[in-house]
Symmetry: C2
């Protein structure tokens, strides 16, 4: 389901998709993202360009699919013993990954695809899943847990807004400030 509707998951279509995705990752590492073209990727993947155009439509959609794959979390959030510690650790890591040059590029590429394909929504779902897991764990400890919607509004959204719209204004302390905002003022507000 990463590309278009993969009606035959077990066969050649799956191999082609995998091969093309791998070609994108390899060539991006070798030549840089700006050097990628559909004919180049197709040649590396061992398929014809028309196959790529038929399945993905254009380079943007393909890069959007690959970017979403790379933004998928590879592990559940680490357990630090308390809601606050878990949230702070997750937020700091999230901010670092997303604000890096590579992270920003992936986010932009993911947003670039057709919104109807839901690639952007999947990015948000990844964050929501991680936050949900933290919340469930905290609830198991008996802690009061903020709504996932609230966490997305207060923590994730401001981070993403800064990453996308204000690339210069993202300090290290900002992530902690956001967590403090959603958990109550145990940490002083950020001096601006």
């Amino acid at each position: 389901m990463s590309a278009r509707a993969t009606t035959r998951p077990g066969g050649r279509s799956a191999r082609v998709q995998q091969s093309v995705h791998q070609a994108v990752r390899d060539l991006e590492a070798e030549l840089g993202r700006d050097a990628l073209t559909v004919p180049l990727i197709a040649a590396r993947a061992g398929v014809t360009p028309s196959t790529v155009y038929r399945r993905w439509g254009d380079l943007r959609e393909l890069l959007s699919d690959v970017a979403v794959e790379r933004l998928r979390p590879d592990a559940p959030p680490a357990d630090h013993g308390s809601l606050r510690a878990d949230l702070e650790a997750w937020t700091v890591q999230f901010a670092e990954e997303m604000s890096s040059t590579a992270g920003r590029t992936y986010i932009r590429d993911a947003l670039l695809g057709d919104p109807e394909h839901g690639n952007a929504a999947r990015c948000s779902d990844y964050a929501a899943e991680q936050l949900k897991a933290i919340g469930v764990r905290a609830a198991g400890r008996g802690e009061a847990v903020p709504d996932v919607e609230t966490l997305l509004d207060v923590v994730v959204a401001p981070l993403m807004y800064r990453i996308l719209f204000r690339p210069s204004d993202l300090s290290a302390a900002y992530a902690g400030h956001l967590v403090a905002a959603v958990l109550g003022r145990a940490t002083p507000p950020l001096a601006t």
Copy 2:
């Protein structure tokens, strides 16, 4: 400064830029955004394609410039007599404009350009200016005024996050909910 460095503001360069921008707006209205191509725009503007490529680099940068122009507010925020009323009115209008099909397209186009050109930052600056104006007016009335940074974090960022990443989850009441969140709980939290 909307395109690249306009070293000669009064001369032919300015006319070319204006003509190209107008051609983009006209063709977008006539044929739809997806039908736009550099040769088409150049022909309408009465210039050669190579001129467009030299000045903007590619279609994305050109569309990014035009999109930012369209996102520029055309008037200072309306005065409704109180901070809360001003903020609510501005937020509702902002949410409506930005979440419309056209608004989302402009935002995406603006983000699509090279971040180094600052088109994305300019979008944020527009919102900040409007909020600043509302704040200055409220301070003149003797009202307590939240920081512009806070307003961006609590009101603008969540709106933009939903528009970009969660196109389906944007209700009419949500804007009011955000204003209530930043001004204190005079309005009940949004039922989710």
